[in-house]
Amino acid sequence: MQSLSYSPLVERYFGHPMSVGPWPPDAGPTAVGDAGREDLGTRVRFELHSDGGVVTGARFQAFGCPHTIAAAAWLAEHLPGRTLESANSMPILELGRLLDVPTEKLGRLLVVEDALHAAIENAGLIRKTGPQLNAEQAQGT
């Protein structure tokens, strides 16, 4: 008996997400993080650029419900400027509250978080080992 209603923030980030899609191939070293499975209803990917441990650019892609898409879009918009460390500890459950995500859907936000964490981890690896790794990652192995 619960209705499909969404907060204005979800409406905005679902309806007009910025920072969408893969970076162009020539955009420089990209740290990719994937999580989730389409057959389970949620799949998210983040692609980060960073410089000296600070996120300089972030893009997302998502297959999922409006809350999932909005959360990923919100994060991609708010990551640039943060250190990888602070990005890694962004409080996903508080974002959930901000977007009025229903309790039963909070599990999906963890998929968003997993993708973000994976991307940040890769960004750390890139920083240490250079962009070769990234090329592999970007092919989606």
Binding site: L4, Y6, V20, T42, A62, F63, C65, E104, G140
Partner: protein
């Protein structure tokens, strides 16, 4: 509030036809035919009774039977429950086995589950990938102690039509009762309960341009199956269903069914053309699949799976289009439609399907709008989604 929305969810409920609304309104207020049809001790009561009986004849006529075989209920959910629980509980000494299909409505499946708790066994037949339950499969499932087969005529999610007549002959031969849920088929599919050997049939008004909250159960009269009521009380409806008869609702259902009988052929032709136009338009998107048998189906219903998009988001991206998803979108879970799953669709395809159900008030421009809006939404969501990665 809803004015800017194009309604394509006629399988969920239809608007009431203005001709139906007009007769309903005649039975509400003090200057109308408002009395209790059981108050046959005075003229207003007799006038209400006469209208109720006229409606009973109208409903009976649509399914090829006599008025005395029609029992008024509050809708098909109640009718399904009355048929299934009513027969099983009254005849439990005769047998404890029922047969139905996995693609039935919850109003059939849930009473069957209740009966399992009460000591019955139920066989749930799996339909083919096209949604059709083969009559042979029903025959094979019958046992010596089978009391009842319950099979819907038109499916509410995918619109496929079962050959209830063939199943009816099998059941009649084997001395097993056949219940048919016809909620989605009145005015859309040929019904003749005698020819089709049907013993019990659930009917509802609100999928056929009548009001919500009224329905009927057809109960064969010769012989009349032994049944236990769900609701006991004033003894209305031959004791099978007590409660004050809602004159305006019943009169509305009667008129709705009369219109349905009269306009069935022309309406089906028009809706078939609209549905084919819609499907032709959506197919252009690529990576879409039609759910259910391509031709053995009701005219106005189209269920399509869109690869690569998520169902709830697709629905949300179509605020001006009132359609429904294959997923149980009102529940919190990502649970995919059990009907589409029973057809063998993957969870993802089951979950990202839309049901378009056209109706009496749908127009060609509605269809064209839907094609445009869905095309745009699917393209946008597909662009948003990450390319697939191997497992």
């Amino acid at each position: 509030m809803t004015a800017t929305c194009i309604y394509m969810d006629n399988a969920a409920t239809t608007p009431v036809d203005p001709r139906v609304a007009a007769v309903m309104v005649e039975c509400l207020t003090a200057d109308g035919c408002f009395a209790n049809p059981s108050s046959t001790g005075h003229a207003p009561g007799n006038a209400a009774r006469a209208r109720v009986e006229k409606a009973r004849a109208q409903v009976a006529a649509l399914i090829g039977t006599e008025p005395a075989a029609i029992v008024w209920t509050s809708g098909a959910t109640e009718s399904d429950n009355l048929a299934i629980l009513g027969v099983a509980r009254a005849q439990r000494e005769r047998g404890r086995h029922l047969v139905t299909a996995r693609t039935e409505h919850k109003a059939v499946l849930d009473p069957c589950k209740q009966l399992e708790k009460e000591g019955f066994e139920v066989t749930y037949l799996k339909p083919g990938a096209d949604g059709i339950v083969q009559p042979d499969a029903v025959a094979a499932a019958l046992r010596k102690d089978t009391l009842l087969v319950s099979l819907m005529q038109a499916n509410n999610e995918i619109g496929v039509i079962q050959d209830v007549g063939a199943v009816g002959k099998i059941c009649r031969d084997r001395g097993v009762l056949l219940h048919v849920d016809a909620a989605q088929s009145t005015g859309k599919v040929h019904i003749d309960v005698n020819e089709q050997c049907i013993d019990l049939m659930s009917l509802t008004a609100h999928k056929t341009y009548g009001p919500k909250g009224v329905g009927a159960l057809y109960v064969r009269r010769h012989p009349r199956p032994l049944m236990q009521p769900l609701i006991f009380g004033g003894g209305q409806e031959w004791g099978l269903r007590s409660g004050t008869l809602p004159t305006h609702q019943i009169v509305g259902m009667g008129m709705a069914y009369e219109i349905a009988g009269r306009e069935h052929a022309s309406e089906s032709a028009r809706l078939s053309a609209l549905r084919l136009r819609l499907w032709a338009g959506l197919k252009q998107l690529g990576d879409v699949e039609l759910n259910g048998h391509p031709t053995q189906r009701v005219a106005g219903l189209l269920n399509v799976s869109f690869a690569g998009v998520e169902g709830e988001s697709l629905l949300y991206a179509l605020p001006q289009l009132a359609v429904s998803t294959g997923s149980a979108c009102t529940s919190a879970s990502h649970e995919a439609s059990y009907v589409l799953r029973a057809l063998g669709r993957s969870d993802q395809l089951a979950q990202s399907s839309l049901r378009f159900s056209l109706g009496r008030f749908s127009t060609e421009s509605d269809v064209d709008y839907a094609i445009g809006a869905v095309t745009e939404a699917v393209r946008r969501l597909r662009r948003l989604a990450p390319a697939s990665v191997p497992g």
